[in-house]
């Protein structure tokens, strides 16, 4: 078996026992990336030299018997949305193409402190807006199970690199499903922790009240290992929770005795792919066979979740992205061309005696803002900025933004009531499997509606996990989503682990990468 196929947990044992070195492991993954990533496009930047130097340093420290962090020598891929002062952080946007952060995100700092080897920066939808990674300004990422299809998004690179065995662990972010949905579509484990469980400091904001950092891996045990490294209170993030972090990976194996599993009446409606519905029902049967009782529950406001989300997220985004104005960092338009165009236009208007036109003509500064932003942002980002600006503008605030904040509370209250009756809620991750590249580009609303199962956890701040639970006839992965009450990550992981132990979906490899390694 090639090194790239082992789980992080297994690799950790091999590293600790000295059977392998971090250099060997890092090199094996770099080779895997070299073989597949030109085609799959999961990574935006790889700094092989830095990664190998880091691995060498950790190997030396291990040989010298020095104390090492919990991820010592394990390669981790990081979504290009978390600031790292050792390289570029672009958010897959032209706006930040040349941005070099002068500081580390708390999550990045914790990974470094845990002696992880940061192997590369993964592709994403620009500013994490989208569900297909097609909105990256730089490259397409392909689904390893069918390279003609999307890997999901926005953490598409993060899911692809784990599925294609290019990294055992990767960090994603989830604002409306951006970890769980690509994890589901790529057949890996992805988890969004409770809002506030992981620091957002250094996470380039999309929608601050919804964004959360989380792990992607091939097993729940690996996800637990990565989560316990990055979770915990951070004084730099006022919304981070001051609650101790349990050692998730240690008590993972205890099954949940007397588990009450909820399934949501409203989830099984028209629009859900029958093969997905079938897979979810079978997963529920697995739980039943493990002793769980199944209870049908109702989340009466779930039908409003997507509408609520697509008011709140763009509103916050329009504000968070106002800072990209080409003044202090980021892309700025060509100023001499701008001035020439403005002058020409002014002369034109003067010649025509158009007083009103002259009055309305942007000054140099306003035009600089507008052109810099128009050139720096892609269409989906612009669409959301426009939507959010409109929803917050005078006269519309109450009808859109304020209304959405109120419905958000009703959605949360639905969950509070539901968790009075059940311990976990099971559901699909997506209503359909990975679609073909380019299929939805011109229909933003249809694309938004795909988020119906995932956005509620963000609105309510709940932890939620996606894990492999089957395949379609075309070997496209299907994900099972579990949701738990706030801060019940351990319950969620234990529940997921129970299922994982009883099934082998998580062991399947995409044909693309399997061919090469069979027989090794």
């Amino acid at each position: 078996m090639s090194l790239v196929e082992y789980s992080a947990h297994e690799l950790k044992q091999l590293l600790v026992s000295g059977e392998i070195t971090s250099i060997e492991l890092t090199q094996a993954l770099l080779d895997q990336i070299g073989t597949y990533d030109d085609h799959l496009g999961a990574f935006l930047h790889i700094d092989a030299e830095r990664a190998l130097a880091r691995a060498a340093d950790i190997d030396h420290r291990r040989q010298a018997g020095k104390p090492l962090g919990p991820l010592a020598g394990l390669p981790v891929a990081v979504k290009d949305v978390l600031c790292d002062q050792d390289g570029p952080t672009t958010c897959a946007s032209r706006m930040l193409q040349s941005f070099r952060p002068p500081y580390d995100a708390t999550v990045v700092a914790r990974l470094k402190a845990a002696d992880a080897v940061l192997i590369g920066r993964t592709n994403m939808d620009e500013f994490a807006m989208g569900g297909s990674t097609e909105n990256s300004a730089f490259q397409v990422t392909r689904n390893p199970w069918d390279p003609g299809r999307i890997p999901g998004g926005s953490s598409g690179g993060a899911a692809t690199c784990v599925a294609a065995r290019m990294a055992p662990l990767s960090i994603g972010t989830d604002t409306g499903g951006s970890i769980r949905q690509p994890a589901g579509l790529c057949g890996v484990v992805g988890m969004k922790p409770t809002y506030g469980r992981v620091s957002r400091y250094g996470l380039i904001a999309f929608a601050s009240s919804l964004d959360q950092v989380g792990p992607l891996a091939r097993t729940t045990r690996d996800a637990a290992l990565l989560l316990e490294t990055i979770a915990g209170h951070d004084p730099h993030d006022a919304t981070s929770l001051e609650v101790p972090v349990p050692a998730y990976s240690h008590s993972l194996e205890q099954p949940l005795a007397g588990l009450r599993l909820g399934i949501v009446r409203e989830h099984f409606a028209a629009g859900l792919d029958p093969s997905i519905e079938e897979a979810i029902r079978q997963a529920v049967e697995v739980y039943q066979s493990l002793g769980a009782t199944i209870q049908e529950i109702s989340l009466p406001h779930s039908k409003y979740a997507v509408a609520t989300y697509y008011v709140i997220a763009p509103s916050e985004a329009s504000s968070n992205l106002a800072r990209y104005d080409g003044v202090h960092y980021g892309h700025r338009t060509d100023e001499s061309q701008l001035q020439a165009e403005l002058n020409a236009r002014r002369q034109q208007l003067q010649a025509a005696g158009d007083e009103r036109g002259l009055d309305q003509l942007d000054n140099g500064l306003v035009r600089m803002y507008r052109l810099s932003r128009a050139e720096g942002f892609g269409p989906e980002v612009k669409r959301r900025i426009m939507l959010g600006t409109y929803a917050l503008s005078a006269g519309y605030y109450d009808a859109y933004y304020l209304k959405a904040l109120k419905v958000r509370r009703l959605i949360r209250q639905d969950f509070d009531a539901a968790f009075g009756q059940v311990d976990l809620i099971a559901s699909p991750v997506t209503p359909s499997v990975a679609y073909r590249l380019g299929e939805m580009v011109d229909d933003p609303l249809a694309m938004y509606l795909v988020d119906l199962y995932t956005v509620s956890a963000n609105l309510a701040g709940l932890p939620s996990i996606s894990l492999p639970c089957g395949f379609t006839r075309e070997w496209l992965p299907i994900g099972l989503q579990l949701q738990a009450p706030p801060l019940e990550e351990l319950r969620l992981l234990r529940g997921a682990h129970m299922y994982e132990q009883a099934t082998d979906w998580h062991k399947r490899q995409p044909a693309l990468v399997r061919q090469r390694h069979t027989g090794v």
């Binding site: 400091y201 104005d325 202090h328 960092y329």
Partner: protein, 493 residues
């Protein structure tokens, strides 16, 4: 309302004051708030608004704001939150200012001032609200090689400001100035701000219009906001100018409130007039939204009460007491109060010990303040305890120390950190016996017949030379006594 001014109108004024709070670090990051640093040397990823950064509220900033609001008799709601006020400007790096919109930390207060038209009658000026917000940076115009640029300095970005908005209760430019003076006194006394207008730690905008009678009906002129006033005197002048300008415009156009949109005008100090400032119509759509990065603050009535108790006597009451008990002038009392509570405490200790408040006030407001300034010290650092200064004053009162040498003694006390008695001893100052003094004067008269002749001839000022000689022979002599004794002896001889 009573028309007590000589104008055919009443000037109605509301003030909006921004005060920089005296914290060490900025409102949402650890950068220093020190004034005068080189451009862009006091910034960090947070106050530059770099991608991914988050604000965390400075505890002291909120505490200072709360203290001020309570001293301004404001109601403190139990719940307050943070909002983003969104607009684009190069000195606002996030594209929004963190401020407070619909649930400010304090509302409905007042400040009492004395009526300039009827001295000693207190006027209660309402405070609509006082809220905390972050400051923006600075744009400096920079002409380089024919190309017009602005240079942006973000040192000031994120400095904590308290915005205090008064009701339109002020009825004259003079009253507005008094309001500002009283507010400054309160803020400096509480130590919440240094209120230095030159350094921008206190900034004032004014809203003004006129109420007048036309055809038996009360009418109001359109409201104008005035900016760019850099001193309290400038505020008064700008308001006086603006009131007469509005009256002139009203006479010409008859335009009333509601018939024209609110105008913003800038005060031009050199030209002594206000000029209209351009503002785009869309700029007023600030698209406020609750800041998701910051959490709300709760303050219980018990906490408010505790702070109220700790405030003690506030400047207006304190001034009244100092004037009443110590027979000080309003001016001297204000000078003391302006320096803050510690100096007032020091003064009170000196006054109590020497039992002469007036003299104590003179010493503290003159010698002590001058030395503090020269030595860049605070009152807490002064090596002369209040009792020692009182002893010095006492020695003068007892005639043990000639008034002319008191400053010398004071300086030595400061330099050598010794008591008044020690300093007097060290300088060899001792009481000169009256008979010794007469003998000394007689000696001088005998030795200077020319001077005696001059004095007898009516040139009394000639005696001055003898005073100098007397001081050389014995530095402890009282020059006044020498003068009168010598004059007497000269006339007799």
């Amino acid at each position: 309302m009573p028309e007590t001014s000589t104008h055919p109108y009443t000037t109605v004024i509301g003030l909006e004051v921004h005060v920089q709070l005296a914290t060490r670090s900025k409102l949402f990051c650890g950068c220093s708030t020190q004034f005068g640093a080189e451009p862009n040397t006091q910034t960090c990823p947070v106050c530059i608004g770099m991608p991914g950064t988050l604000p965390v509220l400075n505890r002291s900033a909120f505490a200072l704001a709360l203290k001020t609001a309570i001293a301004l008799n404001c109601h403190i709601p139990e719940f307050t939150k943070w909002d983003r006020k969104q607009y684009y400007y190069p000195d606002l790096p996030k594209g929004y200012q963190i401020s407070q919109y619909d649930l400010p930390m304090s509302v409905d207060g007042f400040l009492e001032i004395s009526d300039p038209l009827e001295p000693y009658a207190p006027l209660r000026i309402g405070i609509i609200r006082a809220h905390l917000e972050e400051d923006a940076g600075k744009s400096i115009h920079d002409e380089v090689a024919g190309r017009a640029d602005s240079e942006i300095d973000l040192n000031r970005t994120g400095t904590p400001l308290l915005e205090i908005v008064s009701e339109p209760d002020l009825r004259s430019p003079a009253a507005s100035r008094i309001f500002l003076q009283e507010l400054k006194l309160l803020l400096t006394y509480l130590g919440v701000s240094d209120c230095n207008m030159q350094e921008g730690s206190l900034r004032v905008d004014a809203n003004v219009n006129l109420h007048l009678e036309a055809n038996g009906q009360r009418v109001a002129t359109p409201i104008v906001e005035i900016k760019n006033m850099n001193s309290f005197r400038a505020v008064q002048r700008a308001l006086e100018y603006e009131a007469s300008r509005q009256y002139r415009v009203w006479q010409e156009t008859g335009q009333q409130l509601g018939q024209a949109s609110k105008q913003t005008r800038g005060w031009d100090e050199a030209a002594g007039l206000t000029r209209p400032q351009r503002s785009k119509e869309e700029s007023s759509d600030y698209r406020y939204l609750p800041d998701p990065d910051l959490v709300p603050i709760t303050t219980s009535p018990a906490q408010v009460e505790q702070i109220r108790q700790s405030l003690g006597e506030l400047p207006s009451a304190l001034r009244a007491r100092l004037v009443r008990e110590g027979n000080l002038s309003d001016y001297d009392a204000n000078v003391l109060i302006n320096q803050g509570q510690e100096l007032v405490d020091y003064y009170q200790a000196v006054a109590a010990k020497c039992n002469d408040p007036k003299t104590a006030a003179n010493w503290v407001t003159q010698e002590v303040l001058r030395e503090l300034k020269e030595r860049e010290m605070t009152i807490a650092q002064i090596p002369i305890p209040a009792e020692c200064l009182a002893d010095l004053i006492h020695a003068i009162q007892q005639g043990q120390l000639p008034g002319t040498r008191a400053r010398e003694v004071f300086t030595l006390m400061l330099n050598d950190q010794i008591t008044a008695a020690e300093a007097i001893g060290k300088l060899g100052i001792e009481q000169v016996d009256e008979s010794d003094l007469v003998a000394l004067c007689q000696e001088l008269i005998d030795a200077n017949p020319k001077i005696v002749a001059d004095v007898q001839g009516g040139k009394q000022q000639a005696i001055g030379a003898l005073i100098g000689q007397a001081k050389k022979k014995n530095p402890n002599v009282d020059p006044g006594r020498v003068r009168s004794i010598c004059l007497e002896l000269a006339m007799k001889s």
